[in-house]
């Protein structure tokens, strides 16, 4: 690339697309028509909070929050060779200083992007872009320079562990499936990402679909399979579309299908649309679903490696696990094993969400601390005046870790030890306004609804736990509830058929472990320390009220009474606790107060 050959990259991941990035791309293309600047779209660039994102390479100029009206100055600066458009720079939240390139932004500079190396850089709908970045070199090397045994050995030696969250050594899974005797075997890719707030797999599929296809083809070669399926949820239409395009292009170029790269290895991939059941992320339920039945898990053993899809040996890995494979084959197992910690190799991809300044997609080496991810890369709290309270990893199977665990290294074993888990990569940050009992209730509500209903402990147990949690957040908690929750949790974990039930009580157990005082406050004092549980709070107007009437006019139930310029008060019998009065009261006046617990009892 010559120095003045510029490329404009516009992010078209699901987040940026919903913020009108396709229209911005069209405008950019028409504006730059006839110039030597190339315009192309990419998958997710990661910093979703700042989307839509436009990047000018080779300098790496980073424009954040680009609107349609911003296209004109960008086009102007590119055409006339002027300086970059400074007002679109990302501003450092601490110094308020504009940062011109993404290399300068801590969000990017602290990451290690391996799985995501092509995401946000290549056009995911153009196989040539992928090939230019060394695409399908790993497959070529595996087929022509290696034996299946050598490929399995390389994955074993790399120390790669399942990126779906369980962390089972990938190489061992490959070995089991390779050793299972059968003419027909299957390679399945689990893209049924369902954790609340998680979008890593979707972003990889949208941004770099060929990497997943290549990983699956290498796996097919290693274990002796000819057919692969990607189980992708139908809620990811963009991912499915780009996968479909990628599969067709790969077939055309001979990277999939009969006689790959003119060798004698046949392998093809199809997409299976999942109907959006969370339980289908469990491997046996996923297989049952592909077979055309209701997605329900089966008892293991036999494991899918022995008896999986259509009773044939089946290899099933997560999207990111397959995306790692070509890196291992290309760069060697030793290179991969040199990244990360002793027992957790490589990188971890997280979807940062919640009350965090920089929501988005990040990739970090294993072993980095939660503090570095949340405060250095994530930029800290969304509202800098609020305190950090907890971070939730592992989705409904994981747990909430308090501030004292911020220096925990992020790897499979440390997180399990702390009571949470790595999970597939969802990371939800919570601030002081989050009620931890309500968080537990939320996750139990999720697992109760997503339970397939097959086994008794999960079907009935999650409902019992949810009932108790609902009682607590609605002020009906009674002494003994905590103990009952703990007892139920043990029973459900020990007795459930599949991973969903075996881990469903985890959000309750970790919140009980680290935030037991909040449960106790709800039950014993009818107080919600975070002032979130509606049944346990009341709104009051203090005598500093200036009588501006803003709250009165905004109140939807006419619960606020008072003459203009006189002290107002709230009729508690009419108040629905929507919180509008609290929101609209001018910050200078700040006369609305939320009270909880004993205060309420005294008043009533």
């Amino acid at each position: 690339m010559e120095a003045n050959d510029k490329t404009v990259l516009i992010c078209r991941g699901t987040g940026c697309e919903s913020a009108k990035s396709p229209a911005i791309q069209t405008e950019l293309m028409s504006g730059l028509q006839g110039s030597d600047v190339e315009v192309k779209f990419t998958g997710c660039h990661g910093m979703c909070q700042q989307g839509p994102i436009v990047i000018v390479e080779p300098q790496g100029t980073f424009y954040a929050n680009v609107k349609l009206k911003d296209v004109e100055p960008i086009v102007g600066s590119l055409k006339n060779g002027g300086g970059p458009v400074e007002k679109l720079f990302y501003k450092d939240p601490a110094t308020k200083e504009g940062l011109s390139t993404y290399h300068d932004i801590p969000f990017y500079s602290r990451q290690k992007r391996l799985v995501l190396q092509n995401c946000g850089r290549i056009d995911p709908e153009d196989i040539d872009d992928y090939l230019a970045e060394g695409g399908y070199e790993g497959l070529k090397k595996a087929i022509f320079d290696m034996t299946p045994d050598a490929v399995v050995q390389a994955v074993l030696d790399s120390g790669l562990r399942g990126r779906g969250g369980g962390g089972f050594p990938t190489g061992r899974k490959w070995k089991f499936t390779q050793d299972a005797p059968s003419d027909t075997k299957y390679v399945l890719c689990n893209a049924d990402e369902g954790d609340p707030g998680a979008f890593m797999d979707r972003s990889v599929l949208e941004g770099d679909p060929h990497a997943v296809l290549e990983g699956m083809a290498i796996a097919g070669f290693a274990i002796g399979a000819q057919k692969g399926y990607i189980y992708c949820r139908a809620e990811y239409p963009l991912a499915i579309k780009r996968l479909q395009i990628a599969i067709e292009q790969a077939r055309e170029r001979g990277y999939l299908g009969k006689g790959i790269m003119d060798g004698d290895f046949d392998f093809d991939i199809d997409i299976f649309h999942g109907a959006g059941a969370f339980v289908c992320g469990e491997e046996t339920a996923l297989i049952t679903s592909i077979e055309g039945n209701r997605g329900m898990p089966r008892s293991r053993p036999p494991y899918p490696a022995v008896k999986g899809l259509y009773d044939k040996p089946t290899l099933l890995n997560n999207v990111k696990t397959y995306a790692n494979v070509r890196l291992i084959i290309n760069n060697g197992a030793d290179w991969f094993a040199s990244i990360g910690t002793e027992k957790s190799k490589g990188t971890a991809v997280f979807a940062l969400t919640g009350k965090i300044a920089n929501s988005g997609l990040v990739e970090v080496p294993m072993g980095i601390t939660l503090r570095e991810i949340i405060f250095d890369i994530g930029g800290g709290m969304l509202d800098p005046n609020k305190n950090f309270k907890a971070v939730q990893t592992g989705g409904p199977s994981g747990g909430c870790l308090p501030e004292s665990f911020l220096d925990t290294p992020v790897d499979y074993d440390s997180l399990i030890e702390a009571g949470s888990m790595m999970g597939s990569g969802g990371m939800v940050v919570m601030d002081e306004d989050t009620c931890m009992v309500d968080v537990a209730r939320y996750f139990l509500d999720f697992t109760e609804k997503e339970s397939c209903g097959k086994c008794v402990p999960c079907r009935l147990g999650t409902k019992q736990m949810l009932d108790i949690l609902e009682d607590i957040v609605e002020g009906r908690g009674k002494p003994g509830d905590i103990e009952l929750l703990e007892d139920l949790a043990v029973g459900i974990k020990a007795g459930s058929l599949c991973g969903l039930g075996q881990t469903a009580p985890n959000p309750v157990l970790t919140t009980l472990r680290y935030f037991r005082d909040e449960y106790e406050a709800h039950i014993n004092h009818h107080a919600c320390p975070a002032k979130q549980c509606k049944e346990l709070i009341t709104y009051h107007i203090l005598d500093t009220c200036v009588g501006c009437g803003l709250c009165r006019r905004n109140c939807s139930t006419n619960a606020i009474i008072g003459e203009q310029k006189e002290l107002h008060y709230i009729d508690q019998s009419l108040c629905h606790k929507c919180g509008v009065c609290f929101e609209v009261c001018p910050p200078k006046v700040f006369s609305v107060e939320i009270r909880t617990g004993e205060v309420k009892l005294v008043e009533s």
Partner: protein
């Protein structure tokens, strides 16, 4: 080829069984009784009621004895505190949400494991209305423990009619027909196998039900007899 035998210990009793034998069958050999609910000798075992769970030394989770094959050298505990606790919680949950008044075996287990279902008082009960949509039998799913036997005998285990399956999710999961259609509009051939394998009173022959209700036998016939082939819906 001679069968390969494996050795294991169940509740302290050493036993030798052919490889591939389930823990449940091995336990029978050792005269150890493991309680079952969904397991039925003539249907495919699914291990879904979780009542037959046992502790196998070295295993991370409790194992469902009806589906897990015994391993050579395994040490199995069928009444360890962990197992008893899991079973007790299960029975309590079932007893507090499902009507077990017509399931003597379940009631006996509730008594044996000293269950205290009252601790879940106030929890939601499963109370779907009784479905009376055909002249042969009634479906009272408030008594259903979802053992899945009826689904299996209707499918590959006996009749191959596939009229019954699961519907709903989570707590509201229940046995149902396709799109909840009346049985007369499904593939059901009224073979009665499902009624035969039901371990509770959830599926009941209509005549039995009417007699229980005190309807006179002549009237029962009147109410359930079809008026000739031509009039069949």
């Amino acid at each position: 080829m001679s069968e390969k035998y494996i050795q294991l210990t169940i509740d302290g009793t050493p036993i030798s069984v052919p490889a591939g034998t389930t823990i449940l069958d091995a336990a029978k050999e050792a005269d150890v009784e493991i309680p079952v609910l969904c397991y039925f000798a003539h249907t495919t075992a699914n291990g879904l009621c979780r009542l037959c769970v046992v502790e196998v030394e070295g295993a991370r989770m409790l194992q469902a004895a009806c589906v897990v094959a015994a391993q050579d050298g395994a040490v199995v505990h069928t009444r360890s505190p962990k197992v008893e606790r899991a079973r007790r919680t299960l029975l309590e949950m079932l007893a507090s949400t499902v009507d077990i008044s017509e399931s003597p075996e379940l009631q006996a287990l509730v008594a044996e494991y000293e269950c205290f279902p009252e601790r879940f008082e106030g929890g939601k009960k499963r109370q779907p209305v009784v479905i009376d949509d055909n002249p042969v039998y009634l479906r009272d799913y408030s008594q259903c423990v979802m053992c899945w036997r009826c689904v299996q005998v209707c499918a590959d285990d006996a009749q191959f009619t596939y009229a019954l399956n699961f519907s709903g999710r989570g707590f509201d999961t229940q046995i149902a027909t396709f799109f909840d259609k009346p049985l007369t509009e499904t593939t059901c051939v009224f073979c009665g196998n499902c009624i035969g394998v039901c371990p509770t009173g959830a599926l009941k022959a209509k005549r039995e039900y009417l007699i229980e209700q005190g309807v006179a036998p002549e009237q029962v016939l009147e109410l359930t007899r079809l008026k000739g082939r031509k009039n069949r819906t």
